[in-house]
């Protein structure tokens, strides 16, 4: 039982982090806080992928010298690669989200969701 738990406790912690992000998206009123909650979910997914690439007793996926050890001596390079690009793309798309929020604030003078919706209804 205990060995089973140690194999899976990382997944459970990651799912807690993801649920925190979900709660932030659903329960907060401020659009900026919703964007930050989206980033929390993004971080949870990144950690999940990195967790899939781990092997017991492995080293970083870089050859030091040209001789190759066994395959089990190196961590899986594929999740590292995918998440490396995902982190940078996440920052860039967060920039786009912040730009949209900048325009919303300039137009309506607030970032609270209910106030923005009220203003939008009264405009049309």
């Amino acid at each position: 039982m205990l060995t089973t738990a140690t194999g899976y406790v990382n997944y459970w912690l990651i799912s807690i982090l993801m649920l925190v992000g979900f709660y932030g998206i659903i329960a907060t009123e401020n659009l900026l806080k919703k964007l930050m909650a989206l980033n929390v979910i993004s971080v949870a997914i990144i950690i999940f992928y990195l967790n899939l690439g781990q092997k017991a007793g492995s080293n970083v996926p870089v050859l030091f010298g040209e001789e190759l050890g066994t395959v089990a001596a190196y961590a899986n390079p594929l999740p590292h690669t995918l998440m490396l690009t995902a982190i940078v793309v996440g920052v860039a798309t967060t920039g786009v989200g912040l730009a949209l929020l900048y325009r919303i604030y300039n137009r309506y003078g607030t970032l609270e969701e209910t106030d923005v919706l009220k203003e939008m209804r009264s405009d049309s």
């Binding site: 194999g7 997944y11 799912s15 899986n76 999740p79």
Partner: protein, 93 residues
């Protein structure tokens, strides 16, 4: 509203725990992600691409087309940011 949210997320957490039991345990040597394509990357990476860093080999050579897409996404995000903020609203006719 917040109580309903917490209740739904609590139920969702059971779903997550149930789903996680189907995954391979952490740091399992024979998990599906570690046996499918990554042995090829680790064994042949230096011979085929000349890069000692396997992450660079996968990023720029085996999956170069993928990285081209990612670079285009980043550049497009910067351009979209520029257009969103710098654009002026058209005067009302």
């Amino acid at each position: 509203m917040k109580k309903v949210t917490i209740a739904v997320l609590f139920l969702l957490s059971f779903l997550f725990v149930f789903a996680s039991l189907d995954l391979a345990p952490t740091s399992d040597l024979n998990s599906p992600p570690s046996t499918h394509v990554s042995p090829r990357y680790i064994e042949m990476g230096y011979k085929e691409t000349g890069a000692l860093n396997m992450v660079t080999a996968v990023l720029a050579d085996y999956r170069g087309y993928d990285t081209l897409g990612e670079t285009t996404v980043i550049f497009t995000a910067g351009l979209a940011c520029l257009l969103i903020i710098e654009s002026r609203r058209k005067p009302k006719r």
